[in-house]
């Protein structure tokens, strides 16, 4: 005699399918307005993607050919190899330059953006017009990519890492200004009111009411931007603004794939190290 097999929940549900449908018709309705909306949106998104790929001249042949080339390059990238000791030294120098550009650019941007942040914050700005104008100015600066700023600074101060520092600085002023002003707007009003009631003027209010509250937040943001800038300063060399990017783009253009993978690996390691250090520091600031 065999024991009656215990049905799994799945089988039990399937056995009583008709009953379930009768009891919960809403769950089993195939087409609901919400579902239709989602499907239509997805279809439109895919349609636009298809149009984009067609308009931008994607073709299976081109993709296949490119992938074959890419695989070939990948094969040549192994093992990573700087070629010679002197070149390895040049690469390391480029990396140091990159880190220096990121550090200086971030610090300078923070210094310039600090007063701008107060102007762009609703609660500390000098009037609505100043608030509005500084907001729009910061938005415009952020709308232009760091690489474009690098090109502009290269045509002003010439080739070299100095242009890179200025480019990182300029593009970060926009970001910092926005982040700082948001931090300032989020401060507790009570401290400011306390300083006012004690007879503090405008500057005293900012110095003793706002600044102590926002400085740790700002320091965290500066560290975070430094992480992000180590990434962007690796590429501004492509337009001649110093750092390891120049070397990297040259090596790619001359098809020295071993060196390329060496540089990329080096950058990955450097970025990981910086991220770890600044992550620790930020955790310390927050805690």
């Amino acid at each position: 005699m065999s024991p009656a097999r215990v049905l799994t929940l799945h089988e039990a549900a399937l056995a009583d399918r008709a009953g379930l449908i009768a009891r919960h018709p809403a769950v089993f309705r195939r087409v609901t307005a919400a579902r239709l909306g989602t499907s239509l949106t997805a279809a439109a998104a895919l349609g636009l993607l298809a149009f984009g790929l067609w308009r931008l001249e994607f073709s299976p042949g081109r993709i296949a050919g490119g992938l074959a080339q890419l695989l070939h390059f990948l094969g040549m990238m192994l093992p990573p190899d700087p070629g010679s000791a002197s070149r390895a030294f040049l690469i390391l120098r480029g990396l140091a330059e990159t880190l220096a550009i990121a550090l200086l650019g971030t610090l300078l941007a923070a210094a310039v953006a600090l007063p701008l942040g107060f102007l762009a914050a609703r609660n500390t700005s000098a009037g609505r017009l100043v608030h509005f104008l500084s907001r729009r100015a910061l938005d415009s600066i952020r709308g232009v990519d760091a690489l474009i700023w690098a090109l502009i600074w290269v045509s002003v101060v010439g080739l070299g890492p100095f242009a890179g520092v200025l480019a990182i600085m300029t593009s970060d002023i926009g970001t910092f200004g926005k982040l700082f002003s948001e931090a300032i707007e989020a401060t507790d009003r009570r401290a400011v009111e306390g300083v006012t009631s004690a007879g503090g003027g405008r500057l005293a209010r900012i110095r003793f009411g706002v600044l102590p509250a926002v400085l740790p937040v700002m320091a965290g943001q500066v560290l975070y931007m430094f992480e992000s800038n180590t990434r962007s300063s690796t590429i501004i060399g492509i337009v001649g603004a110093g750092g390891i990017g120049l070397m990297l783009s040259e090596m790619i253009r001359t098809l020295e794939w071993g060196v390329v993978s060496f540089i990329v690996l080096l950058v990955l390691v450097a970025v990981a190290v910086i991220d770890t250090i600044s992550g620790r520091l930020r955790a310390g600031l927050a805690g």
């Binding site: 931008l56 993709i63 253009r253």
Partner: protein, 257 residues
């Protein structure tokens, strides 16, 4: 200390900055002075934006590059994020591999991918789209997998208890919870990618960057100003539009239980 050392390495030269700071503002002066003579650019918009037809098309291409790259990246990130989520994949090796791959994709800047792809796929928008797609896979895959790790585990357990396969479990227990968040992140990425697509042309990967770098290199000041204004306005409009959409998405998410 560190700043001084960095200053030395980066060849910071304040006297050079002093000498050239005038040039920087002079640059903007020249950007806004009509080359044909007579006044500022905004006094004669027709002359200033003489190439608006060409630039408009290039700008549309730039947006398409950003869109196609984001869409492909979102699809790739979508597939990989399930593999990289700790609560769905028990095997640490599979998960680790997926995570390392995502990390690699987002740490290498997209313009470096573009440089390499331009050589492999030839000049034009194709390498641009692929570069943006790869970078977006890395960025979105990470965000998506974090969203998945934060979902409510009760529907997942319910689906598993009812005998659902892994894919059915994803479809009915995970997907409804994460879709609005995914869409919101993808929109945010699209904003970033529009900026990126505007400079990919610098290395020959399509879009308006090609014309911009030419104008800057050849000192066509008015064109530089016109293209920059176009880029800034487009970026702002896109930011505003996606912000609206994201608020609606988040609102919809909060309304449904």
């Amino acid at each position: 200390m560190l700043a001084l050392l960095a200053g030395h390495v980066a060849e910071v030269d304040l006297s050079r900055l002093g000498r050239h700071l005038g040039d920087f503002f002079g640059y903007f002066d020249r950007l806004t002075a009509l080359e044909a003579g007579g006044g500022r650019v905004w006094t004669d918009p027709a002359e200033w934006f003489w190439g608006w037809r060409k630039w408009g098309l290039l700008l549309a291409d730039t947006l398409l590059i950003a869109y196609a790259g984001t869409a492909l990246g979102a699809l790739g990130g979508f597939l990989l994020s399930f593999v990289a989520a700790a609560n769905l994949v028990a095997n640490p090796w599979t998960r680790g591999m997926a995570r390392r791959f995502l990390e690699f994709c987002r740490t290498v800047p997209d313009i470096v991918f573009a440089l390499i792809f331009v050589i492999a796929f030839g000049l034009g928008p194709v390498p641009g789209v692929l570069a943006i797609a790869i970078h977006s896979i890395g960025a979105l895959g990470k965000l998506f997998s974090e969203v998945i790790e934060n979902i409510d585990s009760k529907p997942v357990e319910g689906a598993a208890a009812a005998g659902a396969s892994w894919v059915a479990m994803l479809r009915f227990a995970v997907l409804p919870q994460v879709l609005p968040n995914f869409a919101s992140y993808a929109l945010l990425r699209f904003e970033v990618n529009v900026r990126q697509a505007s400079v990919l042309g610098f290395v020959g990967a399509g879009g308006i960057g090609q014309d911009l770098i030419e104008a800057i290199r050849k000192f066509y000041y008015n064109d530089v100003a016109a293209i920059l204004v176009l880029i800034i306005v487009t970026v702002m409009l896109i930011d505003l539009g996606t912000e609206r959409l994201r608020h609606r998405l988040i609102g919809a998410m909060e309304r449904s239980p």
